[in-house]
């Protein structure tokens, strides 16, 4: 359906922030037939005046839950793809805790095919580590990798059995793909619905201590040492986990970690402020401000190299329960950019180039991918961002089926205004273009 004019774009006077090449400069970007092109080859281009906007290549969110197959009422691949495009992302990695669990190659294949049909975002599925995420038998990791799985995780179901974890990490080394662990000792965290500390004590809600996470991160780091495997800690959120990560770095192990925007922006005070509304219920839980500051410092120091949303949409009826009964999760794709801008740019803690590394080069490195950046011939996957625009979060406006956000009503500054996938706009001015 594309006509000639639409196959060529000249994005003028845009501030190009390309962490893949380490470039931050104002220039024109040309897109011809879905790829980045040299100025010389481009003729009859549609011109976009992008003065004042930022252009960033291939934003990757390596931790999202699209609930498809099986739980489409929460989110399906289509609504999730729309949310990703609206949030400015061109690549997402979907977690396998669907029904059935994504633990066989055909489901990996199906997700990729379906994403291509939808055409809004590249989906790089993550397969389960264990069959059915039961934690007792390894899934067919090699076959899933062949089918396109970029990593493995039993996210939501921590892998408790140390022997299975050892085996999984051993395999990861041979496949060059990470084991992504939701680190949590289920017995230590049992019953916990928020962070254990003074707020949980005052609210009378059962808490899970920081250590429920960090004891497992320490174990996993030791197992990464034992096996030489590739370990990636999902949504890291506790001081002890950061110590373990630092220890792993010093030993030269292949260990990395991601942090979620909500852990960088909110604290467990939000549970009180929201007056027990389960919109703040997330796992790992929102932590105290001291921990939040440590997480921010760990990002600045380069200990944490990835920010990922842990986008976890739920149906309104499910969140509309008591704090104990409601499911864990925040719908995070569409507030991602605005949140991390608030945390790092408004406070002057990071340069834009450094910040965008965390959602471009960072995840690509963990997953062993090799996007080259905005060089001629590269796929034109890019996002235009207006760094000045201020806007107020309204979950009801989300493309995601999950309207569950504790940022409802929060003013953010900076928002993606256009997303392009393989040279075609998937979103412009907050409207997703199917």
């Amino acid at each position: 359906m594309t006509n000639k004019a639409e196959t060529c774009w000249q994005i003028q006077n845009v501030r190009v922030i390309d962490p893949f090449r380490g470039i931050d400069s104002v220039e024109d970007v040309f897109v011809v037939n879905g790829q980045i092109a040299e100025r010389a080859t481009a003729t009859d281009c549609r011109v976009i005046n992008a003065r004042g906007l930022w252009l960033v290549p291939r934003l990757t969110d390596m931790h999202v839950h699209f609930r498809d197959p099986g739980l489409e009422y929460k989110e399906d691949l289509f609504s999730g793809s729309q949310a990703a495009a609206a949030g400015g992302f061109t690549v997402v990695c979907t977690m396998p805790n669907t029904r059935p669990v994504v633990d066989i190659p055909s489901l990996i294949h199906w997700q990729i095919t379906r994403a291509n049909e939808i055409g809004l975002v590249h989906i790089l599925p993550i397969g389960a580590i264990s069959k059915g995420q039961q934690g007792s038998e390894l899934a067919d990791l090699y076959q899933m990798a062949e089918a396109g799985a970029v990593g493995f995780s039993d996210d939501g179901h921590p892998l408790v059995d140390s022997r299975i974890m050892r085996a999984a990490l051993s395999y990861s080394k041979t496949l060059g793909r990470p084991i992504i662990q939701h680190a949590e000792d289920p017995l230590l965290a049992a019953g916990g619905v928020m962070h254990e500390g003074s707020i949980s004590h005052q609210l009378g809600l059962a808490g899970a201590p920081d250590e429920a996470e960090s004891v497992m991160v320490w174990r996993d780091v030791e197992l990464a040492g034992l096996t030489g495997g590739i370990l990636h800690v999902a949504h890291i959120s506790s001081p002890g986990s950061l110590e373990a990560l630092d220890y792993a770095k010093r030993r030269g192990l292949r260990v990395s970690a991601e942090v979620a925007p909500h852990h960088l922006f909110l604290t467990d005070e939000a549970v009180r402020e929201w007056n027990y509304n389960p919109v703040t219920k997330v796992n790992p839980p929102l932590r105290p401000d001291t921990t939040r500051q440590l997480l921010i410092q760990a990002v600045i120091k380069g200990l944490i190299t990835v920010i990922a949303s842990d986008h976890a949409p739920h149906h309104e009826d499910e969140k509309n329960q008591s704090y104990k009964e409601a499911p864990f999760g925040i719908s995070g794709l569409e507030t991602f950019i605005g949140t991390i801008f608030r945390v790092f740019l408004d406070a002057g803690l990071l340069s834009p180039l450094h910040l965008f590394r965390l959602i471009t080069v960072g995840p690509q490195d963990v997953l062993g991918l090799d996007y080259p950046g905005l060089i001629p011939g590269a796929s034109a996957d890019l996002t235009l961002i207006d760094p000045q625009v201020t806007w107020t979060v309204d979950g009801q406006q989300f493309y995601s089926r999950g309207k569950n956000t504790p940022l409802q009503g929060t003013k953010l500054k900076g928002r993606p205004v256009a997303t392009m996938l393989d040279g075609r706009f998937t979103m412009r001015d907050q409207e997703v273009l199917v």
Binding site: H201, L203, G204, L205, A206, N275, N277, D317, K324
Partner: protein, 305 residues
Amino acid sequence: MRDLLTLESLSGQDIGDLLDLAQNMAEILDRPIKKVPTLRGKSIVNLFFEPSTRTRNSFELAAKYLSADVINVQKSGSSVEKGETLWDTARNLSQMAVDAVIIRHQVSGVPQQLAEILDIPVINAGDGSHEHPTQGLLDALTLRQAKGHVAGLKVAIVGDVLHSRVARSDIWALLALGARVSIVGPPSLLPSTYEELGVEVTTDLKEALADADAIQVLRLQKERQSTGEIPSLWEYRLRWGITRKTLQYAKPDAVVLHPGPQNRGVEIDSDVLDSSRSYILQQVRNGVAVRMAVLFRLLGGGHDE
């Protein structure tokens, strides 16, 4: 005051005023004919999702002494069991022109959540391990009657403080009224962060009871043993049980309270319970008076905006 959800949110002045009002109500209870017409024509729902005959009866009698109509809704057989959400049930009741909802729920925060969606007063009759505000008020009233004042008293709260909504409400009330509070119990059942509130935290019963004017003994949930939080009821009794012997650690005129129901021979011995030190029956009587005061305050005019 529109709802009564927590004592945390009330000032010492608010609490003092409620106690004064409750003291007046207590005098009604001494009359041969206890019914006064104050809330005639008002209807109140008792929504109890967790069984508690005593608290439910206490609220029901309080409402009836003030001439209000009361209906009791319990979880079993209610529409909640048929898939209707609690919020739907409450909305439906409020459409039936009910004037207030009294709710007891096993999950912390449910009364607050309910108050956000209802236009009528919501009274928390105990939520999870969060608060039990009328219990906190009745404990404070009992202490005031026993000692003439609350300010300056040292009160020791003994037992499973971590899971106790009674302890939480007591702490807020007692601190607001100027008492000193120490909490004591097994380390696994003690919120260490309470020091931030200005409470003394210790696992040593002797230390907690030293100079105490009053002891609030909490009920020990027997399942704390099966969940591995305490080794045995016997060991618990040896270290934190209130017996004739351990009572000696406190002041000679120290009074003993217990929110009930009691596990005799575990957290408290019968000879202490049945002694002149014990104000437990007075607590029960004050429970009605306090609930009358709260209902009057929320429904009977005298609203201060």
